[in-house]
Amino acid sequence: MTYDASSQRGKRAETLETSGRTFWGRLVEWGPYHTLMRLATASPRRQFLILAAFPILWVLTQHLGPMLQMLRVSLTDAYPVAPGVEQHFTLDNYARFFGDSIFWMPFFRTLAFAGVFTFCTLIITYPVAYFLARHVSRKNQMLFLLLLLIPFWVGEIVRTYAIMILLGNTGAVNMVLKWVGLIDRPIPFMYTSFSMGVGIVYLTALYMLLPLYSALEKLPQSMNEAAADLGAGAWTRFRRVSLPLTIEGISSGCTLVFLISTGFYATPVLLGGPSTTVFAETIAGFFHVAGDEWPTGAAFATIMFAAALVITATFQRVMNSLRKGERK
């Protein structure tokens, strides 16, 4: 008896193909499935809804859900609810903020810090983005972007410790200054608004850089050339051409950096000093302290969130009107 391998392989393939075709074929021809698919994809609107279902579900459960839960907790008088304790809804946690000026200072300090640090980040990253978009050849731009991205491969805490290593009394900056003979005693950079600012600018730079780069990269070279032909100097070209046409990037970058800056916790704790307490630290205090303080912390977090959104919306409106003004 002889064994025909090729014939066996052929039979197996045929069986698999037949069974495969049979399964999918049967599914497609199955009445309920066929009807369901026909109904689901009957119009572009339905197709869109099917495609959007998972992202919407994700946003609802992972983003909106926790925020709604925070809002709910902020309106209660006890959370977590201890056994035997009845939970009630109340506005007292919000009243505590508005009724006690102790909390206003860290609140306004946070907003002021966020504004100043956002401006500093813009001033520092704009030239970098400009150089990258306008003066680096296109084939090298990705390489430069990759180099700028490398520090962001590690977490916030590690990068904050890197700043501590740089700015500490025995840190690299003080060592270099001492070595070149500029100082005898270390400059106390750490635990000041300066060290906190350096940390936050460093941590948020990329969020400003990428929108700026994107806006500058789209700017046609011909516009600057036309302005130059009409006699505009470098500063005038920047002020009258580049800057107005990158307002959208500035607006996006500033919004991102401002919102992120209002929520920083670990960096101010590690790099800040006694006079730099931010609102996130106040909020965290309510969650660390044992007792029924979570609702107050949640209320304060909601207040900060709302304030940041209002400021950002106002900023966006101003930038939009500026952009429209330039177009006229």
């Binding site: 102790i102 860290p106 000093g273 630290e281 044992a290």
Partner: protein
């Protein structure tokens, strides 16, 4: 420097813990009933010696799951959120925080009859007034700590460190740090008041006035402080980086630096200070209560284990004769002269609700000022 410290600490810790585990096979052989399962523990870093844990797991078959915590409040909130079905069996509560946990029904009374090694704890800790509440024991004391004035011996003299005033002096402006909540109690004591506030339980107005006085003092001295910190590691970091010359700290983190060879010393200043005791406690409705008792009895089984905990954490062991298993430097870093110990009193819990009700807003005000 920090690398050296890390390596030395790891080496010393590992060596000590290994020694402790090797010296305590008796219990573990006895406990080798191989009951299996697991025990879940919330505790501070270095409070469960690694070698002990390894041997306990091997001998009993009980897996020890440690979740590190760094704050009593966080433990309380976590446990409150999980009750009545907690995931934890053993927590680490400071003695002066018992009441809060007990009032919220979060702890189970400790059945000391199930702990054959209960007698290995120094009675100063196991039988003191704070350890018995409502006629029950609520925890097994393991380590004792205190609020001390720690100073760099190359920058600050011993005489200067004998008073809290040095911490607030112009001479060391910008070179000091403290935990602001703890400092409030110490400042009250320094001003001649009861920092535990037990004396003012019947006079809330007086209590509020004292807290206000301490608050104003710390606001006035705010320009002199370099950093309000929260954890022992932060304090160590600032000392090693020479960002500060002296500061208030817990004795544990300071002792760990001394054992690493850092030029640091600590005192209990003449104005007085507070001590506290960490205890292992069993959670109410603990899912593995039997294993929790097995673990507690094991960890209390020998002074070597207590010494290993001291070597790793820097806090003082509550076990009888644990100090006999420390070297000279470790003994030095965990002991104080009698005249300084006389200035020490323990934190008490009776007035905590009133105290922290006043203290928390005051702390926020100081930070905001």
């Amino acid at each position: 420097m920090s690398k050296l410290i890390y390596n030395r600490r790891r080496f010393l810790g590992t060596a000590a813990a290994t020694g402790a585990a090797l010296a305590s096979p008796f219990y573990l052989r006895r406990a080798a009933a191989q009951s299996g399962g697991e025990v879940n523990i919330w505790t501070y870093n270095d409070f469960v010696p690694a070698a002990f844990k390894e041997q306990f797991e091997a001998e009993t078959g009980i897996k020890v799951n440690v979740r590190l915590v760094d704050d009593q409040g966080k433990q309380f909130n976590l446990l409150a959120a999980e009750q009545p079905n907690p995931t934890v069996d053993i927590m680490t509560v400071a003695g002066h925080r018992f009441l809060q946990f007990i009032d919220s029904d979060l702890l189970a009374p400790l059945d000391t009859d199930r702990l054959t090694n209960w007698g290995n704890i120094n009675p100063t800790f196991s039988e003191s007034d704070w350890s018995t509440i409502n006629g029950n024991k609520w925890g097994a004391p393991i380590l004792s700590g205190m609020e001390v004035l720690s100073y760099n011996t190359e920058l600050v003299s011993e005489e200067e460190a004998l008073t809290w005033d040095t911490l607030f002096s112009e001479k060391y402006s910008g070179q000091t740090a403290y935990i602001i909540q703890d400092m409030m109690s110490i400042v009250m004591l320094k001003m001649g008041y009861d920092g535990n506030m037990v004396a003012y339980l019947d006079d809330p107005d007086k209590a509020a006035q004292i807290v206000e006085e301490a608050k104003q003092f710390l606001i006035e001295k705010k320009p002199l402080v370099r950093k309000y910190y929260d954890g022992g590691a932060e304090f160590q970091q600032m000392m090693v980086n020479q960002d500060i010359a002296l500061g208030h700290s817990w004795n544990g983190p300071a002792a760990a630096l001394i054992n690493d060879g850092f030029p640091l010393a600590m005192t209990i200043p003449r104005e007085g200070s507070y001590g506290f005791v960490y205890t292992y406690n069993i959670a109410n409705n603990a899912p593995n209560a039997d294993n929790a008792y097995t673990f507690l009895d094991a960890i209390l089984s020998s002074p070597e284990i207590g010494a290993a905990m001291t070597k790793a954490s820097g806090f003082i062991s509550t076990y009888k004769d644990a100090s006999q298993h420390l070297n000279d430097l470790e003994k030095k870093s965990t002991s104080f002269p009698e005249e300084q110990l006389a200035n020490l009193q323990f934190f008490r819990a009776e007035a905590n609700e009133m105290k922290y009700g006043l203290l928390d807003p005051a702390v926020e005000a100081i930070k905001a000022a």
